[in-house]
């Protein structure tokens, strides 16, 4: 940041002050990028207590956005305690939050954010550009190296204007800043500097809809409504996240009214929820498509080298029956290996179950009696899915053995490219289609066992394409090729089944597409409260 004549910082590349002008604001409005109004919707005062039975032990690292891991679970807490500049919101991904608007320069090298006026942290301190810069520079979670490598500097114009200067055009900057990392989640600079990192984890202060009250490791997290939350006054006064690791116990607690929401209920138990008067099921679909992958498709000696064999495997999957049996029909059957809620998703034709056609294609490919396909390797947590798919494969003549591996061994082996035959996998990593293709399809990808040059070439082109429409075209083309070559045989996009008790008026499940937790929390309401 360099000082200008009026004391404001300047853009080192262009030398003009960063203070937003009326023209900037008009420009933003014209671009349709201006966010929601700054006026918060103040409904009735928050009331009552809502208890959420959580399936996993809450970790204090989730209280600090700087340590956001590349998994979705921390966002269970972050959506309550903290707020981001931009984040996925109902109907908007990303939606403007602490930043009421943002814009990118035509050359893709600078991103200007305008902070929402009058927003405060839970301790009453205003959210300023200093906090934004501090939070970004302090960030050390997933993909922090990528962020730091690509962002040259963060300039502060005034307390409400901040500019990110990139070293080179990076079309995915907003994706990474808003959802794929925690770099855009803002913490109060003054408070963090005062209490230190450990102190912050013990008593976090954020700008989210709920304030931290207490945390007992392995037991519960207690939160209280932040009445002044900019987006909306939360409907529930107090939220308690109670850790109940056992699924049956969570269901019992829901039935007894000890918890109002029980996260993660298996299908067998979910049927009990359906049978119980007053309880309802919610099954948001996350960002994790499950698929079969054929690592031998690049080996000319393998049956999987023939695209017809791979297509036959896809045709053999009776997704509807499997979905009904394992997730009560709540999962989304898909014909894509990529999440339907991701930016640049190309909608493929719907999946088809046709075992007759599968047998026919196999015969055409030279396997009239089927073939021995070796191992079907999967994460043991989803061995039930593997077993069901395997039965379908056997029915058309693709004979394989189930090889369930403990989760760590599975992903270690998958990443080390040790598996052969058939792999059943999935990923819930954040990002967009480009980030997903990079890991699973493109040459050198963490989980790519081989590559197709045309895909690599398209990927390289899209990585520097600033025109959104052209980039979309390239990424659509890549997905079409993945589909045509049947690199993956998609199964479903998994639903996260949860139970909701009779006191809850609105559970918030599914409001944010691809997010499996009951957020935004300010939307939660209790009956009669």
């Amino acid at each position: 940041m360099t000082a200008s004549f009026d004391g404001g910082p300047t853009n080192p590349r262009r030398g003009r002050p960063l203070r937003a002008t009326r023209r900037d604001v008009l420009g933003l409005a014209a671009l349709g990028l201006a966010g929601a109004t700054a006026t918060p919707v103040h409904a009735a005062a928050p009331a009552g207590q809502l208890t959420i039975g959580v399936h996993i032990s809450l970790a204090p690292t989730w209280f600090d956005p700087a340590e956001t891991a590349g998994i979705i679970t921390p966002f269970l807490v972050m959506y309550a305690l903290h707020d981001a500049m931009l984040k996925p919101l109902p109907g908007q991904n990303p939606g403007p939050c602490l930043a009421e608007s943002w814009t990118a320069s035509p050359d893709g090298l600078t991103y200007d954010f305008v902070l929402r006026p009058g927003v405060t942290f839970h301790n009453g301190d205003p959210v300023t550009a200093e906090d934004v810069k501090f939070s970004f520079e302090r960030y050390r979670g997933t993909e922090h190296a990528t962020m730091k490598e690509r962002v040259a500097s963060v300039d502060i114009a005034d307390p409400r204007h901040v500019r990110f200067n990139l070293k080179a055009p990076w079309p995915d900057f907003v994706t990474f800043y808003s959802s794929a990392t925690g770099a855009g989640w803002i913490v109060p600079k003054q408070y963090v500097e005062k209490v230190g990192d450990d102190g912050f984890k013990r008593a976090p202060i954020g700008a989210g809809p709920y304030k931290f009250v207490s945390f007992t490791p392995g037991v519960e997290l207690v939160l209280e409504a932040h009445d002044q939350y900019w987006r909306k006054t939360p409907g529930v006064k107090r939220i308690v996240m109670r850790v109940i690791p056992d699924e049956s116990t969570r269901l019992a607690a829901l039935k007894r009214g000890e918890v109002d929401i029980a996260l993660s209920i298996r299908a067998e138990l979910a049927e009990e929820v359906q049978r119980t008067p007053g309880l309802t099921l919610q099954a948001p679909v996350g960002s994790a498509p499950y698929w079969m992958y054929f690592p031998e498709q690049w080996d000319p000696k393998s049956p999987w080298h023939d695209v017809r064999v791979r297509r036959a495997a896809a045709l053999a999957i009776d997704g509807k029956t499997i979905n009904q049996a394992l997730t009560l029909g709540f999962s989304h059957l898909t014909n894509s290996a990529f999440p339907e809620n991701f930016e640049y998703y190309w909608q493929p034709p719907p999946p088809v179950y046709d075992p007759e056609q599968a047998r026919h294609i196999l015969a055409e490919a030279g396997f009239p009696s089927g073939f021995d396909a070796g191992s079907y390797t999967c994460d043991i947590a989803y061995a039930n899915l593997g077993e069901a798919v395997l039965n379908n494969l056997v029915a058309v003549g693709i004979r394989a053995r189930l090889r369930p591996l403990e989760r760590v061994s599975f992903f270690a082996g998958f990443g080390d490219k040790k598996f052969r035959n058939i792999i059943q996998g999935a990923s819930g990593a954040f990002g967009n289609l480009a980030t997903r293709l990079e890991a699973f399809v493109v040459k050198g990808g963490t989980y790519a066992y081989g590559n197709y040059p045309e895909l690599d070439e398209l990927f390289a082109r899209q990585a520097t394409e600033l025109d959104r429409a052209k980039r979309e075209e390239l990424l659509f083309k890549m997905q079409q090729i993945v589909h045509e070559k049947a690199i993956y045989a998609p199964i479903w996009q998994l639903a996260f089944i949860c139970g909701v008790g009779p006191r809850v008026a609105q559970s918030s499940f599914g409001l944010i597409k691809g997010f499996v937790y009951p957020a935004p929390y300010e939307e939660l309401t209790l009956k009669g409260a």
Partner: protein, 306 residues
């Protein structure tokens, strides 16, 4: 006696070193914790950063020596998952485990000792068979199954008890029973066999020949001697209850040390697993040491033999 104690202390120290070596290397065989802290598809840089943050990129021997050096200073390390000192986590869970163990142990002794005596005194009778059945069920029914049945019956159907959690006396009843039953069965069996052995001894026959009432023979003369092995076992069991009530604490969401161990194993949280196992092992070693010394004080032959 002094030499005996020094020798026993040496054995205890060796046991703890062997335990530390075993648990340190054993947990590392289970896999890379970084894999559980990121989603599939995470960059290698992210995984490497986690390795570096937790010191997992150092040679194993260096990691072990650091672990032992810290342990000698009373530092059990920092939890990968909770990002808190393991000792702090352990101490925050310990009171819950002590409470649960104390109630479960009281229950197991209150049930196990009288039923064991009754079964021994009335060998072959209905009471003996009932006691054997009680012991058989207690030892063979998995505690998670007992726990879930209790939740279903007492929480869901009858609505008498909270299904899980902690905070009130009512929260203690089901986990204490589920945990205590197994140990009550073990205590009952030992009490029965020990009592049978004592009842066959000469001094009991003499007491009976002298015409002492049955209650006095059993309650005063036989019980004291028959109780010794049961109480010794109870001491060791108490340590086990405190540290390894993994299943019961998980089913009932009881925030004790056992559940901490479960969480440590689930998340490949090496420092937590190491810490809980080392502290649990240390408790067992200390209890054994005290028992050995106590035996040596009571019976001089022991200190001369070993």
């Amino acid at each position: 006696m002094k030499q005996f104690i020094i020798r026993r202390l040496g054995y205890s120290l060796i046991s703890l070193i062997v335990l530390s070596l075993t648990i340190f290397f054993f947990v590392r065989v289970t896999g890379d914790p970084a894999t559980l802290l990121v989603e599939p598809g995470a960059s290698e840089a992210d995984i490497a950063a986690i390795h570096h943050q937790f010191g997992l990129d150092r040679p194993l021997v260096v990691q072990y020596l650091l672990f032992m050096a810290n342990l000698a200073r009373g530092d059990l390390g920092q939890s990968f998952y909770y990002q808190m000192p393991v000792s702090e986590l352990y101490l925050s869970r310990l009171p819950n485990s002590l409470l649960l163990a104390a109630v479960a142990m009281s229950f197991s002794l209150l049930i196990g000792i009288p039923t064991g005596i009754l079964a021994a005194v009335r060998v072959g009778s209905f009471w003996d068979s009932a006691g054997k059945l009680f012991a058989l069920l207690g030892l063979s029914l998995p505690s998670f199954f007992v726990g879930l049945l209790m939740i279903l019956f007492f929480s869901v159907y009858l609505g008498w008890l909270p299904s899980s959690g902690s905070g009130t006396a009512l929260h203690l009843i089901m986990p204490a029973f589920a945990l205590g039953w197994y140990f009550a069965a073990a205590h009952m069996r030992l009490m029965r066999s020990s009592m049978l052995e004592v009842l066959g001894s000469e001094y009991i026959k003499l007491a009976r020949l002298k015409g002492l009432p049955q209650a006095l023979v059993i309650g005063k003369h036989a019980l004291k001697n028959a109780l010794t092995p049961v109480l010794t076992l109870a001491g060791i069991n108490l340590v086990l209850m405190i540290n390894v009530a993994v299943i019961v604490e998980t089913v009932f969401a009881w925030p004790g040390v056992g559940r901490l161990l479960y969480e440590g194993v689930s998340f490949r949280d090496f420092p937590v697993v190491q810490g809980v196992v080392i502290l649990g092992g240390a408790m067992i070693v200390v209890v054994n040491l005290l028992v050995d010394i106590l035996y040596a004080v009571i019976d001089p032959r022991i200190r001369l033999e070993t």
